[in-house]
């Protein structure tokens, strides 16, 4: 699919938005305006961006603990995301979820997830439902190289394969599950090769190249949409920062400075706009736009109120009964 200028700039906008969103999040965590821990998507922007650009609004994604990038790329509202991260009532989850659970069902975002691999079968279910509704909706399940070793991911791959479900499994191989290098956690060199075990196509692409990711994603999405079944798409990428915001404090080290530097040279948020400029496309105005959007998001979140404490017992069930859920006292 040849991209026009607006689309090319759009890819940059999304990547830049994710990068700057994450940088602001780190600041806010460090200033304790965001409680808990967050897992940044810094370095991996080309993956979510390239994949989600291949999707329609009614397509579904399931995300991970490292979900901000996927959600922004799928069209998530930075204001409601930021508000959620601060635990505000105006947040996507009314403050119930925080970073690891942001969801917007109206955009097909079936949630970040705190349990590695857990979203994979959920995506299969959304895909089956789409199929039964005679829609050509597609579901994308994101997970990491670490997630590739979870039993439930294996089961989901097989389920999608045998029922030819319209799913694209996107394995974001950033080389590590926290400190564990994938080279020690799997023997195969290309995780995409595992697709063969399920009789589905597997593709491995450079996850630092947004156009390559996008092209591969378009192909996989097309397969899914036309009823040709699922694909496993491995995107080789890297996270530039720690596993989560708390990592620094733990003083652990498992990657060499050289390795990080080498990958940083391929930073998609730098290399892609440089390439765009070579093509005569100037994306300069995007940066200011993104900054304004994020200023607004942070301001919105800050101004929003915390939820009322008593609301904590609402909404667990769609149908409630006296005494349900039980209070603790």
């Amino acid at each position: 699919m040849a991209l026009d200028k607006t689309q090319l700039i759009g890819l940059y906008r999304t990547m830049r938005l994710i990068r700057r969103f994450e940088e602001r999040v780190v600041e806010l965590v460090n200033r304790d305006e965001i409680p808990g821990v967050t897992h940044e998507y810094v370095g991996q922007e080309a993956v979510a961006t390239g994949v989600c650009a291949a999707l329609r609004p009614d397509d579904v994604i399931t995300s991970t603990h490292r979900g901000h990038g996927h959600i922004l790329a799928k069209g998530g509202d930075p204001r409601r995301m930021m508000a959620e991260l601060m635990g505000k009532a105006s947040g996507y989850n009314r403050g119930r979820g925080g970073s690891m659970h942001i969801a917007d069902l109206s955009l097909g975002i079936y949630g970040a997830n705190g349990i590695v691999g857990a979203g994979a079968p959920i995506a299969c279910g959304a895909a089956l439902a789409g199929k039964l509704a005679r829609s050509d909706r597609v579901a994308v399940s994101f997970f990491g190289d670490g997630g590739m070793n979870q039993g439930v991911v294996h089961e989901a791959l097989n389920l999608a394969a045998i029922w030819r479900l319209p799913v694209v499994f996107v394995c974001e191989n950033n080389g590590y599950a926290i400190s564990a290098p994938i080279s020690e956690m799997a023997v195969v060199e290309r995780l995409a090769d595992r697709a063969a075990a399920y009789g589905m196509p597997g593709t491995s692409v450079d996850g630092m190249d947004v156009l390559a990711v996008h092209a591969a994603a378009c192909e996989a999405v097309e397969r899914a949409r036309t009823g040709a079944g699922p694909t496993l798409l491995e995107c080789r990428t890297y996270r530039f920062v720690g596993h989560f915001t708390a990592e620094k404090a733990r003083g652990i080290k498992y990657r060499s400075d050289e390795e990080i530097a080498r990958w940083r040279e391929r930073d998609p948020v730098v290399t892609y706009p440089a390439w765009l400029r070579q093509q005569g496309v100037d994306p300069a105005m995007v940066d200011a736009e993104v900054e304004a959007l994020l200023d607004e998001a942070v301001a919105f979140a800050r101004q929003s109120a915390f939820p009322e404490a008593e609301e904590a017992l609402d909404g667990m069930y769609a149908v409630t009964y006296p005494g349900l859920p039980a209070r603790g006292w």
């Binding site: 579904v60 399931t62 947040g91 996507y92 989850n93 009314r94 403050g95 119930r96 979820g97 659970h101 969801a103 917007d104 069902l105 079936y110 949630g111 997830n113 349990i115 857990a118 994979a120 079968p121 959920i122 995506a123 299969c124 279910g125 959304a126 895909a127 089956l128 439902a129 789409g130 039964l132 509704a133 579901a139 039993g151 439930v152 089961e155 989901a156 097989n158 389920l159 045998i162 029922w163 609402d314 909404g315 667990m316 069930y317 769609a318 149908v319 009964y321 006296p322 005494g323 349900l324 859920p325």
Partner: protein, 324 residues
């Protein structure tokens, strides 16, 4: 009223709900040939888009049901064994049950889990005889355990229509039991216990497969001059506190008769509720009569020893009344 078997009542409920709502689909192992009998004939009537034989991937198909439910379907998931809930545990209690809350109330997850609860049927041993409802209700999942064909049909229908995950435990020991089931459409609401037999001296709160045992015991006790009330919670979560407390307040004595493990089991919850809310009415200590906390052993004499029995119930009841 016509009498049908418990298993047929479940079957009827499922079939009726599938006719009523095309969003109801069925997933599980060997559901097309209907290994367990509940899904008999569904493939023929509803076709392969409504009923799916799954691979042996319980976590996978449980999660798949969650996603399908979020996307508008109403999956009914059948598990062949109670222990399969353990294999799918994260997808049940940490995903399906939690997602709506964590998403701030977005969407609904109308899934029904149909679980053959152990009776325990003779000789199924340690890994096929668990009664894991205390684990699920601890995690906030709605659960029912009907003790009659009528309740089975009415509660399964309600479960399927409920917009939340609900587990329906069907005790193997009751599947062949016959009982009256209305021909006309009916449902039974969650959260309503039923006094299966009124009495004045003693409340027996009996769960699932122990309800018929409790009724037989009450009969026997009546001949001995002891009037026992038998209350069946039916719905384990939500639990009908009022009916249970009213019974205990009336009789002042209570035996909790439950076939799940003892420690942190369902009888413990009932005991706690009564000790908190009806303490003033108690005229004797609360008694729990449960399973022993061991895997169910295979050999018949061992199996009988660890499971709660009518004989022990009679002993406990007599002892409790003798103390007056």
């Amino acid at each position: 009223m016509r009498e049908i078997r418990y298993l047929e009542a479940l079957s009827e409920a499922l079939r009726e709900e599938m006719r009523r709502d095309s969003k109801v689909i069925v997933l599980g192992e060997d559901v097309r040939v209907s290994m367990r009998g509940v899904t008999k004939g569904l493939l023929q009537e509803f076709g392969p888009d409504r009923i799916y034989d799954t691979p042996i991937s319980e976590a996978g198909f449980t999660g798949l049901a969650t996603g399908a439910a979020m996307a508008g379907m109403r999956p009914v998931v059948e598990y062949q064994i109670n222990a399969l809930l353990f294999v799918a545990f994260d997808q049940l209690v940490d995903q399906a049950q939690k997602l709506r809350y964590m998403m701030g109330g977005q969407g609904t997850i109308p899934v029904t889990y149909l679980v053959p609860a152990s009776g325990a049927r003779r000789g199924l041993a340690g890994q096929h005889s668990d009664h894991p409802y205390p684990l699920l209700v601890h995690m906030g999942m709605k659960a029912v355990m009907p003790s009659t064909p009528r309740d089975a049909k009415g509660l399964l229908k309600t479960a399927i229509r409920e917009d939340d995950p609900v587990v329906v435990f069907a005790p193997s020991a009751l599947l062949a039991m016959k009982g009256p089931v209305p021909e006309e459409e009916y449902t039974i609401p969650l959260g309503r216990a039923e006094v299966k037999r009124p009495g004045d001296d003693l409340s027996i709160i009996a769960v699932g497969p122990l309800v018929p045992e409790a009724l037989k015991a009450a009969e026997q006790l009546a001949q001995e001059g002891i009037s026992a009330e038998v209350v069946d919670p039916r719905s384990l979560l939500p639990l009908d506190h009022e009916t249970i407390l009213a019974s205990v307040r009336k009789t002042g004595r209570v035996i909790l008769f439950d076939d799940s493990n003892r420690t942190c089991g369902y009888a413990a919850e009932l005991a706690a509720v009564i000790a908190e809310e009806a303490w003033e009415s108690l005229r004797a200590p609360i008694r729990r009569l449960t399973r022993a906390d061991v895997p169910v052993p295979f050999s018949p004499p061992l199996e009988s020893y660890v499971l709660p029995s009518r004989d022990r119930l009679l002993q406990e009841a007599r002892a409790l009344l003798a103390k007056v």
